[in-house]
């Protein structure tokens, strides 16, 4: 993952995308895959490339939950918000994660070391209640297990 995007790099990255060809989302996804997030600079560069306004691009960035506007944390717990998890204590797990990490959902620590994210159900409901830690499923979780996990991710354990 590249560090600070430069304008030139960004222009090259989005050079193939065209206005009104269904390219906004693919372009944003490519930017985020490359840099981990969509920076203000990236929004401006993409607006010029697609011949539209930064406001329209930002409107989309803020609309879709998957886009980030700051670099992702080094470690991340993504909490599954699905119903099968909810029925097995998922909301108590969320509360415990938030308090242990001292973060809201979709928040991250100031130093960017760890974060908490709202995840959507992907139908692996046999693992409920579950979270993803850096993309890996941790299933059959208890609240106590979630607290221990959050402490470990935070570096407290």
């Amino acid at each position: 993952m590249a560090a600070e995007p430069t304008t030139r790099e960004l222009r090259e990255l989005v050079a193939e995308y065209e206005f009104e060809r269904g390219h906004l989302l693919p372009a944003l996804i490519e930017i985020q895959e490359h840099y981990g997030y969509v920076s203000r600079e990236a929004i401006e560069v993409l607006a010029r490339q697609l011949r539209t306004t930064p406001a329209l691009i930002y409107g989309a960035v803020s609309f879709y939950a998957d886009f980030r506007t700051e670099p992702p944390p080094e470690r991340e717990i993504s909490w599954c918000s699905g119903p099968a998890c909810r029925l097995r204590g998922g909301d108590r797990i969320r509360e415990a994660l938030q308090r242990t990490l001292d973060l809201p959902l979709d928040g991250q620590s100031e130093d960017g070391a760890y974060g908490l994210r709202l995840g959507q159900c992907n139908g692996t409901c046999s693992e409920a209640p579950q979270v993803w830690v850096d993309g890996e499923v941790v299933g059959g979780l208890t609240v106590a297990g979630a607290v221990a996990l959050a402490r470990e991710v935070k570096g407290d354990a």
């Binding site: 009104e20 609309f63 998957d66 119903p83 797990i93 509360e95 995840g119 959507q120 992907n122 692996t124």
Partner: protein, 620 residues
């Protein structure tokens, strides 16, 4: 029959047959998202390593899911002679060595992990897979290939009748294809059940060109993974269905819109599209017919309302995925304001079956008014969360008991959600309803796309309402005040009721919201209150108990309970104090106290010290 296709299909079948007649054992490991969540990738690596280390004469391939999601990773073994195939379950990495030794090296069976014999004769210890309780009564048509073929190898699809339906449609007039679809009675599988043939006919009759097809694979209903099973298990079935729709509507391009939460589906659909293109089944002059149709796999970015067809269209167009105001309908003005047809994954996937086998065969599967088979995923308070394919008409209770193996620990069923956060909740008394469209429509909701979530008596209906309304609030696009403010208001009231602040007038406020929110532009707003509406119909007493007695009969709502140390000397208490995320458990003399102001009711302490910590009503 098209000569080019005959050549392509024959070559594919020859390669498939040759692989099966290789004289080697064939090990087929299910590698879908559920299997990956249960260590499937590690199982695959361990299998490959063990087979290489022992120098075994074995082919390993990966497949999609059989639907036994709670028993993944599943794996089938076909004997070297090709006379017998046995399906096994729960092949976690730690079991691979034993499995390889007893099944592959010693050529025996592992009855404790066997689900059944897929082909060949049963043994004393392993019966036929079709006789397995989970398989009985299922009719696998859409899922016929799932678990049995490698979804990343088009040969496998072609060798099993793949694309034959499309080739038939190549020689048919668009009207005739649509006539056939209408005759079959295929209804849209996204929830509404609108006849697919009529929808296609709208597009066929559109005046503008070019025309587009969109496949809605944004399966955003939490608790539904029907489309994922198909995309990860048999992606070409969807492509073939879209090709048939393209022939019926003279469309030139199609988009498969997949949510980003499904990376493996995205990958497999991309591979399948690429392979179909290589064989000349997509692109220009398909199979020398002069017809052109190509597909784009389009990835979403996290938005539930993009599952609404006009929201989805806006999303592809390059805007926020806000549902449009209709009319105009997509058949007049869809993608780039050009004529467009949007169908669900499962709807398109049925079209090849209708073309290949005919409308009578397809619809003859049951007497139900809703035709064909339907895939359902079952989750929540069930012992076996999995995916089944059955004819319409089976009762909800049968689905729960037969395929879900009932509720865990024998806790009685309280109710269920038939299909997504907008579909509402029904009580256990309604569990005898047949799974078809009419009874749900009559009760003011819809059956939905197939994700059925069961809940038992331990669940608070107010918590469920808070959850589903909170979801609707989060995912509201923000266009209609009725929706984005209505859901906010509903959540505020529900939270208040759920923390002891409920008022008699709240129930009237709900009635107001139920009414006004139906004036929202799209289904998201107009159906968001279905859960509350039905909860008030079936579980009104629970609301009244919360409001009047300030008591939660389920003792599960965080705002209605307190935790108390009731067994002071319990040796587990220090550990409970240590796990508490808010340091609410403090030493008090020789024991511990829970400081109520600090306690967040997460219950971690009660898990660690179940005999020492007791949950009590907060207000009673």
């Amino acid at each position: 029959m098209n000569d080019r296709f005959t050549a392509i299909a024959t070559e594919a079948r020859d390669r498939w047959e040759a692989a099966r007649a290789s004289g080697r054992e064939q090990v087929s490991l299910c590698l879908d998202t559920s299997s990956l969540a249960r260590g499937g990738a590690e199982t695959l690596a361990a299998l490959q390593q063990a087979v290489a280390a022992k120098g075994l004469n074995v082919d390993i391939q990966t497949t999609g899911s059989w639907g036994f999601c709670w028993l993944e990773p599943t794996v089938s073994v076909r004997s070297a002679a090709g006379t017998r195939t046995v399906l096994y379950h729960s092949l976690t990495p730690d079991r691979v060595e034993e499995f390889v030794q007893s099944v592959l090296v010693e050529a025996g069976e592992l009855p404790e992990l066997a689900l059944g014999v897929v082909e060949g004769a049963p043994s004393d210890q392993v019966g036929m897979l079709d006789d397995h309780p989970f398989m009985q009564g299922q009719i696998r048509r859409l899922m016929a290939n799932c678990g049995q073929i490698d979804p990343e190898n088009i040969d496998h699809y072609l060798a099993n009748g793949g694309y034959e339906g499309f080739v038939k449609s190549l020689d048919m007039e668009p009207e005739a294809i649509i006539e056939l679809m209408l005759e079959s009675g295929l209804g849209g599988r996204g929830g509404a059940g609108f006849p697919a043939g009529r929808k296609w006919d709208f597009l066929r009759n559109a005046t503008a060109e070019p025309r587009y097809l969109v496949c809605n694979a944004d399966e955003g209903d939490p608790g539904a993974w029907v489309n994922r099973i198909l995309m990860e298990g048999d992606p070409h079935l969807i492509i073939e269905g879209m090709l048939i729709a393209a022939m019926a509507t003279n469309s030139v391009e199609g988009y498969i819109y997949i949510r980003h939460e499904y990376p493996l589906s995205i990958e497999r659909m991309n591979v399948a599209v690429e392979q179909a293109r290589e064989r000349g089944l997509l692109g220009e002059d398909i199979l020398g017919s002069g017809k052109t149709f190509d597909l784009v796999v389009f990835v979403g970015a996290g938005s539930y309302v993009c599952g609404e067809e006009t929201g989805l269209i806006n999303s592809i167009d390059g805007y926020r995925g806000m549902p449009r105001i209709r009319p105009p309908f997509p058949a007049q003005a869809g993608l780039w304001n050009l004529p467009t047809n949007v169908n669900n994954v499962e709807t398109y996937a049925n079209a090849p079956l209708v073309l290949r086998h005919g409308a009578a065969w397809w619809s003859g599967v049951s007497d139900d008014e809703a035709k064909g088979t339907k895939m359902f995923t079952i989750s929540g308070a069930v012992n076996q969360p999995g995916c089944v394919e059955i004819p319409f008409g089976l009762s909800v209770r049968e689905l729960l008991e037969k395929y879900g193996a009932g509720t865990p620990d024998g806790v009685p069923l309280k109710g269920y959600q038939p299909g997504g956060p907008l579909s509402g909740v029904l009580s256990a008394e309604e569990a005898d309803l047949p799974l078809t469209l009419a009874p749900f429509r009559d009760r003011g909701l819809f059956l939905g796309s197939g994700g059925i979530v069961f809940f038992d008596e331990t669940t608070s209906v107010v918590d469920l309402c808070t959850y589903f309304l909170g979801f609707a609030e989060d995912e509201s696009c923000g266009r209609c005040t009725t929706c984005f403010q209505g859901t906010q208001r509903a959540v505020e009231i529900l939270r208040r009721i759920g923390s002891g602040g409920g008022r008699e007038s709240d129930l009237d406020k709900f009635e107001d919201l139920i009414q006004t929110m139906t004036w929202s532009n799209c289904l998201h707003g107009s159906f968001a209150m279905t859960t509350v509406k039905l909860a008030l119909r079936y579980f009104r007493e629970e609301f009244e108990t919360l409001i009047r007695e300030k008591r939660d009969p389920t003792r599960s709502l965080p705002g209605m309970i307190t935790y108390e140390v009731t067994s002071p000397g319990d040796p587990a208490l220090p550990e409970a104090a240590a796990i508490c995320p808010t340091e609410a458990i403090v030493e008090a003399g020789s024991s511990y106290d829970i400081v109520d102001e600090l306690c967040i009711r997460c219950g971690a302490c009660a898990e660690v010290a179940p005999d020492a910590v007791t949950v009590r009503d907060r207000f009673v």
